[in-house]
């Protein structure tokens, strides 16, 4: 069974979701993208992915969602061993100070992207976060050289005590 690293997008507005998916197209063949419209759907998707032996490398999460809000989801993920290491990014225009502080303190938020975002900025954040994720969690970094930050991956390889046999 080949283990995959997923990108999860949680967003309730259809147009925003489509824009995010489009901007993440180039990552799709390395990191399959899954989507959810609200927190309970997201939890189901997360369960499904984990149950099938895969990992969530990165979650891009809106804050204001119908039902439970995004920060709550991120905190839930932080409290769960399988998703603790997932990189957590809040993509929102409406999170107030308190929610943001909560996300940083309780969910170990890795990045905050304010809407509207620029494609380059988004790609940079995704590359950065996923590079961190694979360096920390994956044994074989070579498959990610083409899509992520190759210089940082090479440097991680250099420090990995690699041998020749």
């Amino acid at each position: 069974m080949d283990e995959k690293i997923y990108i999860l997008i949680v967003e309730d507005e259809l147009e925003v979701m489509e824009a995010l998916i489009k901007d993440l197209e180039k990552f799709e063949s390395y990191f399959p993208v899954e989507t959810a419209n609200n927190v309970s759907e997201a939890t189901e998707v997360i369960d499904y992915i984990i149950d099938h032996g895969h990992k969530i490398g990165l979650i891009l999460c809106d804050h204001v969602l119908p039902g439970k809000n995004g920060v709550d989801l991120l905190i839930d993920m932080q409290n769960r061993p399988e998703t603790m290491k997932s990189k957590k990014v809040l993509v929102t225009g409406q999170a107030g100070h308190e929610d943001t502080i909560l996300a940083i303190n309780k969910a170990d938020l890795d990045h905050y992207i304010a809407k509207p975002w620029g494609q380059e900025e988004l790609e940079r954040v995704v590359v950065n976060e996923l590079t961190d994720f694979v360096i920390a969690n994956e044994k074989n970094l070579l498959p990610y050289m083409q899509i992520l930050d190759a210089a940082r991956l090479s440097d991680a390889l250099r420090k990995n005590r690699m041998t020749d046999h």
């Binding site: 083409q146 090479s154 250099r158 005590r161 690699m162 041998t163 020749d164 046999h165």
Partner: protein, 466 residues
């Protein structure tokens, strides 16, 4: 695990291979030789198909030998007419073979160098004189890579050099063949550079370890005198081949490598220990202290000063040491049980000339290493060469050291495929080049290497060895 997965089929094949000599009575082969053949079969199959990690197979080899071939084992507690069993310490003792200790010293040094960025800063310093013309930059990169990989692992060196060339590649036009030339120059130079010193790459250890069990000890300097001239020649040829196959379009390249040598006391100690150890290694002929003994100096110095800490010791690549030890161990029993001699005498060698055999061994080593681990290829071929040379059937001019060198050096010349060596895999992973580029350039360099190994084995090595 699926029933017919590659893994389970490989394990099954290995077990069948192990059992064949039990049912087959080979005339002329001692009872112990049959057991050694069993172990050789399972080792060869497991090493080649890798159902378990390479080092695990090595450990299995040592276990099987201790149990079935040693004096303390279950089968041969007494000396028989055709087998004088080795004590089990002979087999497990390979883990403390001088070459293993030499490698340990090399690992510790390389590790400290990486930790304090000595490798990066040396690269920065050494690249400066090569200017900004693409062809000289490639030459500079290859020279620096080769020098570093002679003292560090080829793989770690390649990973480090990738951080140097990736920014250059990123700035180069997509249709400029320079990109491919650059991406290939690093792994090729690392593969070739590893040949230069005993600690450069594990196949060298296999050769030196096998020779040491035959009572032939090769000094650090002696190996360098034998190998380094060949390395320089093949390196320059590879540079020219890469320039010819991938002619750069860009007029000039800028390299802005930032960084400065760390100046804290630990870093300065690391520089000192590194410099002193290498200096002592390459001046062995003056002071006569063996390279394995010197190798303990960095281990002790860096451990005593806390630079090699508990985690550092735990994280050393012990699996390589086990791998090489298992290989040396297998060689011991193949010889003492008469198995190797039996394999050798079953072929009519006297019909072949020395030249033919040099080419044959070199070619087989290169072909095998293109598909298998270089270390495994050397491990499987060396015992044959040892018995061939010792049995005397091969005639004059076929010395033990000579043919071992041919095998060891040739194993490092295999660089046609991404799977041939880890440095190749790293270069491929960047997506800068296609397999066909690597195959073409690797083929030309491999053929040139074969030619050079043959010429050296005929003219240069005998000159030094006699």
């Amino acid at each position: 695990m699926k029933v017919f997965s590659k893994q389970s089929v490989s394990i099954l094949l290995g077990i069948i291979g192990f059992m064949i000599p039990f049912f087959l009575n080979i005339s002329g082969l001692s009872e112990a030789g049959h057991v050694a053949l069993s172990i050789f079969f399972i080792a060869a199959i497991f090493w080649m198909l890798e159902p378990v990690p390479i080092y695990a197979t090595s450990i299995l080899v040592i276990l099987l030998q201790v149990f079935f071939l040693s004096k303390q084992g279950v089968l041969f507690p007494e000396i028989t007419a055709d087998y004088n069993p080795n004590p089990y310490t002979d087999f497990i003792g390979t883990l403390a073979n001088p070459i293993i200790i030499l490698f340990l010293g090399g690992f510790v040094l390389a590790d400290a160098a990486v930790k304090y960025d000595l490798d990066k800063n040396l690269t920065r310093l050494l690249l400066k004189p090569f200017g900004s013309k693409p062809k000289f930059i490639i030459l500079g990169l290859m020279a620096v890579t080769a020098v570093l990989s002679a003292f560090m692992s080829n793989t770690a060196t390649t990973a480090m050099m990738m951080t140097v060339i990736l920014p250059i590649i990123a700035k180069t036009d997509l249709d400029d063949p320079l990109r491919i030339g650059l991406a290939l120059s690093i792994p090729f130079a690392a593969n070739i550079g590893g040949i230069a010193t005993p600690i450069g790459t594990p196949p060298n250890a296999v050769v030196i370890g096998a020779l040491s069990t035959q009572g032939i000890n090769i000094a650090f300097t002696e190996w360098m005198i034998l190998a380094a001239p060949l390395v320089m020649l093949v390196l320059i040829a590879s540079w020219l081949i890469l320039l010819w196959m991938f002619k750069p379009k860009s007029g000039s390249l800028s390299m802005d490598m930032k960084g400065a040598f760390q100046k804290n006391s630990s870093a300065i100690l690391v520089y000192f220990v590194f410099g002193a150890t290498v200096l002592l290694w390459i001046t062995e002929s003056f002071h006569g202290i063996g390279s394995s003994i010197i190798a303990l100096i960095p281990v002790a110095a860096l451990a005593l000063t806390g630079i090699l800490d508990k985690d550092g010791i735990r994280q050393l690549p012990w699996e390589v040491l086990w791998l090489v030890a298992g290989g040396i161990s297998l060689g011991i029993s193949m010889e003492s049980t008469g198995l190797a001699e039996w394999i050798i005498t079953s072929i009519e060698w006297s019909a072949f000339s020395t030249l033919f055999m040099i080419i044959a061994f070199s070619l087989v080593a290169i072909v095998m290493s293109n598909f298998l681990s270089n270390t495994v290829s050397a491990t499987l071929l060396i015992p044959l060469a040892v018995s061939l040379a010792k049995s005397g059937v091969a005639g004059e001019g076929f010395s033990l050291i000579l043919i071992s060198l041919v095998i060891g050096v040739s194993a490092s010349m295999a660089m046609m495929l991404p799977i041939s060596t880890p440095p190749n895999a790293i270069a491929m992973s960047t997506g800068t080049l296609k397999t066909k580029h690597m195959t073409r350039a690797g083929l030309v360099i491999g053929l040139f290497g074969l030619l050079m190994v043959t010429l050296y084995a005929l003219f240069y090595w005998p000159l030094i060895l006699n």
